[in-house]
């Protein structure tokens, strides 16, 4: 099926930011994609318009009951000038999984990807060039019916905005210090941990701020039931290299099925690196550390791709990992994924999707 969306071009294009000083998620391109949902027409009126404020009734469901979801992916320009996306169908599928959990109507996956392509094509001059940069793509859906009862909204908006970004962490690939959180909980089985919905993120801010106050950049979340098993790192998936095994927590209903997580597992398999998805307890980590077997630890996510952890604090014990340096597995995963994304390495995994 061929999707075409009407385009209203801006009459007032913005100045593009200096690619050198780019931060994450503070500047937006000239246009945005908007589509409406109502029960009669379903998803309808997909269109590209100039980036700008939207109007919302103050009783809109999203402002009260958090019926909202988002996705994140990136567009890159290859050395040959080709514009490409990284695994956008994974985002489309996850969108519908999240929508199902949040009682939001599902979206045709081809339409989802077509909308991203159309918007990125129009604003492709905004794709920054330079190490660690990309055009961040933020699809999101929110409930906009003006109604205060607690039930699913009958109307929604699906939007896509674009932001030229530098590295998510200003420190880039420098290892971060991490605090093991044992009071606050990110998610529990039966909750929304595996969905990419707003509530998960608002709920996580408090623990993150406490970690910052203690001098730690991120938090390692434990499971909400036994406070024993590793779940995630901040808003990213957690990876460990224990001995010669790369380990990440198995998807258990409370962990987000990260696309970078999936890519790292697939890459390890392709490269013959031993990789496991399984339960991993904080006690196992401590034991491995004491035995000199905790070789690496890193977070994975779309924003930073890979972010090494150099120090872990758990109940007063400081573990220094890989001498506070990025390890070989984290480095290889970052180099390979970012290389494929930017077209500097051949896409031997068939992960990229061309825009036009």
């Amino acid at each position: 099926m061929n999707y075409e969306f009407p385009i209203t071009k801006t009459t007032n294009p913005k100045q593009k930011p200096d690619p050198k000083g780019l931060r994450f998620g503070t500047e937006f391109t000239d246009h945005m994609f908007v589509m409406d949902y109502n029960p009669e027409d379903g998803w309808n009126n997909g269109r590209i318009v100039p980036y700008g404020p939207i109007e919302l009734d103050p009783a809109a469901v999203v402002l009260h009951y958090g019926q909202e979801m988002f996705e994140g992916l990136k567009a890159y320009k290859t050395p040959e000038g080709r514009v490409q996306l990284f695994r956008p169908y994974m985002n489309a599928q996850r969108t519908n999984n999240t929508n199902d959990r949040l009682c939001i109507p599902t979206i045709d996956e081809e339409l989802f990807v077509a909308a991203i392509k159309a918007l990125v094509k129009l604003d492709q001059d905004w794709i920054p060039e330079g190490e660690g940069t990309a055009l961040y793509i933020r699809p999101f859906i929110f409930a906009d019916e003006p109604f205060l009862g607690v039930r699913r909204s009958t109307t929604y908006k699906f939007m896509i905005i674009l932001s030229p970004v530098g590295p998510y962490f200003e420190s880039g690939l420098a290892p971060t210090k991490m605090y093991v959180e044992d009071v606050y909980v990110r998610a529990v089985k039966g909750g929304t941990g595996e969905a990419k919905c707003g509530g998960n993120y608002g709920a996580s801010l408090k623990a993150q701020e406490i970690a910052h106050e203690k001098g730690y950049e991120q938090i390692l979340w434990l499971d909400g039931i036994e406070k024993k098993y590793i779940e995630e790192i901040g808003a990213a998936n957690a990876f460990f290299v224990i001995g010669d095994e790369v380990v990440t927590s198995e998807l258990n209903g409370s962990i987000l099925p990260g696309i970078t997580r999936n890519s790292i597992i697939a890459l390890c398999k392709k490269k013959g690196i031993k990789v496991s998805e399984r339960k991993i307890s904080i006690d196992e980590l401590e034991e491995a550390y004491r035995a000199g077997q905790l070789k690496e630890m890193f977070a994975s996510g779309t924003a930073a791709i890979v972010s090494p952890v150099g120090e872990l604090l758990y109940k007063g014990e400081r573990m220094i990992i890989n001498d506070n340096q990025i390890g070989p597995v984290a480095q290889e995963m970052y180099d390979t994924i970012y290389g494929i994304q930017t077209g500097k390495i051949e896409d031997f995994m068939d992960w990229t999707v061309a825009v036009e």
Copy 2:
């Protein structure tokens, strides 16, 4: 301290709805309260303006990360024409507890109540008269900084809107059928269950819809760890009468500290009715039911005040409570609280606050 807010009156007043056909949360009055927050000025520019759409940047934090909270309370007109609120300082205090959990700046409690009073005073002609009606007051706060990184917003809006409402459940005080949820979880200790934030409500829709499909109006939530202890009913607190004891689940970090809950406990004590806040397991309920000791079950909340439960389904077993009739404790609590709220019973608890 005396708070005054500039008022911009509507030039286009709406027609007031027929009090007979009133539903919950679908119609709004002529005006709304708005106040801004930024780091330099703190909360500032509190004002009353005509009710209408607000403008939001599509990157506003609330649309992505659910950094938002709300409250709910009601205004009534007494037979003498006096306008009064029910325990508004409880809402002010709970607002600040929620704000602390969601990393939202706290609000002066006197200002919070003064803003409600000013708005209700202006729109007092919208207070409906008639059994079961009230003017529902919805204070809410959301993060509006346009920024896609995961950290607390630097700017916020605090708003209040008003809605003339009929009974929350169309069935009024008729007993509802309830489904014990044992797959989905509302909240877990360390999460946001005791905060009144949007994410809790969006997350609850799925289980509610499954219950509806099975023919049940509401869900009884069990704890997220052992799936054993009663937490809440839908978006309300849970009460039981077991033998001669009124029981509600103790506040444990994952249960919302309801103001109606608090009022029922206080009323029971005042009236010499035995009342306990303690853990109560679904097994205890079943045993009490089989022994003929489960006399009553009801939900409590601002919207419905009291909502009796006539049937409970747990793992295939149907329990019929009090012959599917409202019981004497639920009826007395409803009559007394609604009587005090509407000024038809003397306020012997000192709960009402006059508007002017």
